[in-house]
């Protein structure tokens, strides 16, 4: 095994996802600590040209597996591409984003290699030339620090936790194209259709700001005031389990132990009392604001800032105040 750090740079139609830059930045730090190079694995149907831009994030080399079969994610095809790249490079560490795609792909690659994989990591350390990671369990009620007994040491990194930092503006990474043994990775399932979500919705797990509503919203129509605040803030709208189980919001909006675990810069909890399973899913937010009529609500113990009172008065006033701020 070499000291090289390989990471999967996720892209969509030639555009790298935010997570690609986050994982690149984290990967650069690990590579520096190990004294190895940072290599990006890019898999897609037309990606090699834009791949050079990864150089700005400290990527030394890009290995691009370009294939017309890779327009959509193909589990077997992408797994084979990663296996081919890993076989050639023999990296000591392989990192993925803990996105939908990364979380589906990484365990397959790990299983093919017969190695361990740490999911959804929030911190990486290099100790005596080996990787150690920290990751939340029980949706963040506790964390474990783990080490690996197999190589390459593999981990997926939670979105929105590692900040993306450019090392050198305009620096280009060298791109090496490889042919994937597609017959070996023949797909056993195929994507028939992709239905994009309406409008310019921001993904909860990638949002910088989240406005979430709970039981206190009383009825589904009332979420309109949260949508409006979210629009003003450029935020995503989330919901508590109570709001989802009442059928007010889709389950994909749920934040908490049986929903999404999120780490935005700002989490605004509106009419959410703060059940333990909800707190688990959002406690790693940088700043938490709580708006609730009950001053004893547990959410206030986790919130940096709280306002006690009627959310139906406070939220519209907040939207107005933010609008004023943005236009000043």
């Amino acid at each position: 095994m070499s000291k090289a750090v390989l990471f999967f740079a996720e892209q969509n139609n030639g555009q790298f996802r935010k997570s690609a830059f986050e994982v690149a930045t984290a990967g650069r730090q690990v590579a520096d600590a190990l004294g190895g190079e940072l290599v990006a694995a890019v898999v897609g149907d037309a990606i090699a040209d834009s791949a050079t831009t990864l150089g700005a994030y400290g990527v030394d080399k890009v290995i691009a597996a370009e294939n017309t079969d890779f327009h959509y994610y193909s589990p077997e095809g992408f797994t084979q591409a990663l296996i081919d790249i890993i076989t050639e490079l023999e990296p000591g560490v392989v990192l993925f984003p803990a996105t939908s795609l990364g979380s589906d792909l990484a365990p397959r690659v790990a299983a093919k290699l017969g190695v361990g994989l740490a999911s959804d990591c929030t911190e990486l350390f290099v100790v005596d030339g080996k990787l150690e990671i920290k990751r939340p369990i029980y949706a963040g009620k506790a964390y474990i620090r783990v080490a690996f007994n197999s190589e390459p040491q593999m981990a997926t990194l939670r979105s929105n936790v590692f900040s993306a930092q450019k090392q050198q503006e305009g620096k280009e990474a060298a791109v090496e194209k490889i042919q994937v043994n597609v017959a070996e990775g023949k797909s056993k399932s195929s994507v028939k259709e992709f239905r994009p979500m309406g409008g310019d919705r921001i993904e909860l797990t990638e949002a910088d700001i989240i406005v979430s509503g709970g039981r206190g919203m009383r009825e589904p129509g009332n979420f309109a005031i949260l949508e409006e605040l979210a629009k003003e803030l450029g935020a995503a709208v989330g919901a508590s389990r109570a709001a989802v189980d009442a059928g007010w919001r889709p389950h994909s909006d749920q934040v908490g132990q049986t929903g999404k675990t999120v780490s935005p810069n700002l989490y605004i909890a509106v009419g959410i009392s703060g059940a333990i399973q909800h707190l688990a899913g959002m406690s790693s937010s940088k700043y938490i604001v709580a708006i609730n009529k009950d001053p004893e609500a547990p959410i206030f113990k986790k919130a940096d800032y709280g306002i006690v009172g009627d959310l139906f008065e406070i939220v519209p006033a907040l939207t107005e105040e933010v609008r004023k701020l943005k236009s000043s």
Binding site: A110, S119, I144, G309
Partner: protein
């Protein structure tokens, strides 16, 4: 149709996690163990398919300590036909070890469909479905919110960033269930009575060693006590000022 549901017993979502004496695992005192919530969607989907087809068998396969029998019994009460416990002690198992244990058991079984929850809410690793796909060499569709079965294939919808993917795979296949797939039933009294007579076979899993070791378990960083800015809409300008100038998040 033979359907296997891989199920895990986990602490319920109300559990307050306390770190155990070894500093690496949780203290099980007063913990209420339940069927992993995502596995309930998996069990429900398996039962619905069997009911729709009017034939078939639903087997619950669980790898875990003796207490997991209670969760298997609950799944049988929902309507599953039989259970298999791959009995382990309480030592830490990583996804590699668990997946090899389940795969080795599955290789001895008949299956057209294998269901799992999209992740277990204790370890949150979400690896077993895709790992089994490789170990059994059959397709796996993860995080499924809608499933249809027709002509020996499945068509599934899965949530991804920015939208929904529609994926088709031939049988046998693995599906991991996400909330929204269905509304799991409660066990009926009759179901609970019948479950007592249903067979649960106990076996020792054939597992490879864990490739990950836990060094220590920690509590999340304590959030310092909140500041109540004020009450009512009068407090809003102050809040916005704090968010803008102190926190610098807007």
């Amino acid at each position: 149709m033979n359907i296997v549901v891989c199920m895990k017993q986990v602490p319920d979502t109300e559990t307050k996690v306390r770190i155990g004496a070894d500093g690496k695992t949780i203290d099980p005192t007063d913990v209420n163990y339940v069927i992993n919530p995502y596995d309930e969607f998996a069990i429900e989907e398996a039962l619905r398919i069997k009911e729709k087809l009017g034939e078939g068998e639903v087997t619950i396969l669980s790898l875990g300590p003796e207490r997991a029998t209670t969760a298997i019994r609950s799944a049988l009460a929902m309507g599953a036909d039989k259970g298999i416990l791959l009995k382990t002690d309480d030592t830490y198992l990583d996804s590699h070890a668990v997946a090899t244990g389940l795969a080795n058991a599955l290789k001895e079984m008949k299956y057209d469909l294998i269901f799992l929850g999209k992740q277990a809410i204790d370890d949150d690793s979400a690896q077993i479905g895709p790992r089994l796909s490789v170990l059994l060499d059959i397709p796996c569709i993860t995080v499924v919110t809608k499933l249809e079965l027709e002509d020996g294939k499945i068509i599934a919808e899965r949530e991804v960033e920015g939208g929904t993917q529609v994926i088709e795979a031939s049988l046998p296949a693995i599906v991991t269930a996400q909330k929204g797939l269905n509304e799991p039933r409660y066990a009926s009294l009759k179901g609970i009575m019948m479950a007592k007579k249903k067979p649960i076979e106990e076996k020792s899993p054939v597992m490879e060693e864990a490739k990950i070791s836990v060094l220590k378990m920690e509590y999340p960083p304590e959030r310092k006590g909140g500041k109540i800015v004020g009450s009512g809409k009068e407090a809003v300008p102050e809040l916005v000022k704090l968010l803008h100038e102190e926190a610098k998040v807007i």
